[in-house]
Amino acid sequence: MQPEMLIKLVVLLPLIGAAINGLGGLFVPALRNKEGLIGMIGTIMVLLPFLITVYLFIGFQGDAIISNAFTWMAAGDLTIGFDYRIDELSLLMTMIVTGVGSLIHLYSAGYMHGDDGYWRFFAYLNLFIFAMLNLVLGNNLVVLFLGWEGVGLCSYLLIGFWYKDRNNSKAASKAFIMNRIGDFAFLLAMFIIFREIGSLDFDAVLTDGLTMSQGSITATVLLLFIGATGKSAQIPLFTWLPDAMAGPTPVSALIHAATMVTSGLYLLARLSPLVLMAPGVMTVIAIVGAVTALVAATIAITQNDIKKVLAYSTVSQLGYMFLATGVGAFYVAIFHVMTHAFFKGCLFLGSGSVIHGMHEVEHELEHDGHGHHLDPQDMRTMGGLKKFMPATRMTFLISTLAIAGIPGLAGFFSKDEILFKAFEAGTHGIDVGLVVWVVGLITAFLTAVYMTRAYVLTFEGEPRWPHADKITPHESPWTMTVPLWVLAGMSVVGGYLGIPAVIAHGDLNWIHHWLAGEQGPVAEAAFEGHVALAVEWGLIALGSLIAIMGVWLGWRWYSKRGLSFDEKLAARFGGLYKLWQGKYFFDEAYDKTIVRPLIGGSIHGLAPFDKYVIDGLVNFTGFFTRGASFTLRYLQTGLVQSYAVAIVFGVVLLIWLMLF
């Protein structure tokens, strides 16, 4: 079949899956507990697109193929088609989305076993994949935006999946509202582009768009970046991502680690020639990325909830990717997106497996009437799980080492490349490069430490849950361990797609050639001259050393002293540790500066719901509108004659405007 046809199939299959599961579950209650069927449909509808994409990938000739599904609107001077674009970048992203996606679907089939909303979960998950594919395959900003909104919506639905718990819907609302702020910036950027060049197709944006005035370009790129910070959880809009862990763990793995949160980076990479035209904004991006990476890494050290650690780790790694974008190394950012999808997906699924096991422990404790309350996500009550969950432990260990950057594993290659690019930019006249390089090194060390901490506290040492001698967790079923092994395997080999330039002059750096080669869709910052070979080797050695040091120290500290080392850290760092533990008090600051005044200003008749919407309203406009709303509504007195006065006022205004 033609690629044009196939690509439509790729997008459509997940939608069909969502429709079957969603409508079937909605209208035929008997289908709701056919878990095997639902899980199979859901998984196959993502696996098939993956296989098709691989087929397309193999047959890809090097020229972008554009497939028009249908013309969505053709009115005035604007034509917007539902066009899908097959090129190097979109193929790679599609493979990540569908590949990791199908593994996570398979995993969910086991993880969600017995949940009332099993059908709903798979319908949402398929719908998410559909939206995400629109995002990465769209050939114009409108389709991309539709996907962008769609993944936001699905993420909202999935975070609030267990909506009966108030906290979950609160987290969902928070995520949604923070994303809306970013989306709004994105929309404005689209307006500017459309106004300037009259088209939103990528081809036009990347040719005509480059001729826009410098002011427009800077504004556009800045707005796009703000849009990206919302979706990809960067400072200042990052606080929703850790809260989003309220959703089921596969959701965290799929949406909040592997795919959706990286869409901001995809957007910037897709428009990389435009981004390169705005050096000022790139500096901002690099700094924001570096600061986010460092801030999130320090917070991660202090967290005890296993999913929270991984969430902050994700924020930190996303910071890395933005750092790379900021120094003009877009393809490296995408490379890191890919390797990160492997190891962070694996880590999240591993944590899910652990939680699954600990749940069992919790249940048995309750069943036996011990009356202990156990938080199945708290690492302080874990420990020694390697005896009970060998597969989970092995895969978790591999991906921990990968994310820490141990040489030879996937994380090493991509992280090292990012640091190298920052260094290269720093030594070629972009001063910010050196600063972010140093920050990146510190973060790399911290990453190794907190990930080792998480691993050691979870799997090593002695069990710390009550009655550990009698009650033990069990390894998860095969549907859950198979994806773990696959992802762990990818975490080992995935990095070899981007072998550093020191070896064979970069000829073996496949990902570079694929994305940023002669015809590749991704631009990159070009510098005069090269960094000396010896220096490059030195940098690699430094990176490796830092990673190994981090892992070794982390292991030593936490396997010997266990939890008590946290106290020592707290004593050593004092106020700083409190700052980390308190997550830099972002939430509190938002609460004090924005949320409180809101509540204070509009105390009248606030329904409980408003409180948690307000909690998320992080802009002054929200305060203003709400205040205005509560004031203005009292104009509506209920008296006919005051309404008539308004009419007369309107008449006077109308006549005045019309005549003068």
Binding site: R633, Y634, Q636, T637, G638, L639, V640, Q641, A644, V645, V648
Partner: protein, 101 residues
């Protein structure tokens, strides 16, 4: 003294304003209804005067429609006032404010 078109128009405008002011300040629903009728009829005066001065019948035709519409409105209005009165035992519009804000 000849009575020109402007006299009619001025009288009509005055009557219209009286209607508006009455509507704004009287609290009895029926009086308000009468004020509306006054407004409509003042416009009728304008229309007839204009129609006459231009020698065009369209204005007078509209007057017919206005009259019948006004009658229908009066009927509906009185019916509503009666319904309200049965419920609240008052037709003071300041007492009729169940819905507000």
């Amino acid at each position: 003294m000849e009575i020109t078109l402007n006299w009619y128009l001025t009288l009509s405008a005055l009557l219209f304003s009286m209607g508006v002011i009455g509507f704004l300040f009287r609290r009895n629903a029926i009086v308000m209804l009468m004020c509306v009728e006054l407004m409509l009829n003042s416009v009728n005066l304008s229309l007839v005067a204009l129609s006459q001065s231009m020698g065009d019948t369209a204005g007078q035709i509209l007057v017919f429609f206005v009259m019948s519409v006004a009658a229908a409105e009066a009927a509906v209005g009185l019916a509503l006032v009666i319904a309200i009165f049965r419920d609240k035992l008052t037709i003071d519009v300041t007492q009729i404010n169940l819905f507000k804000y």
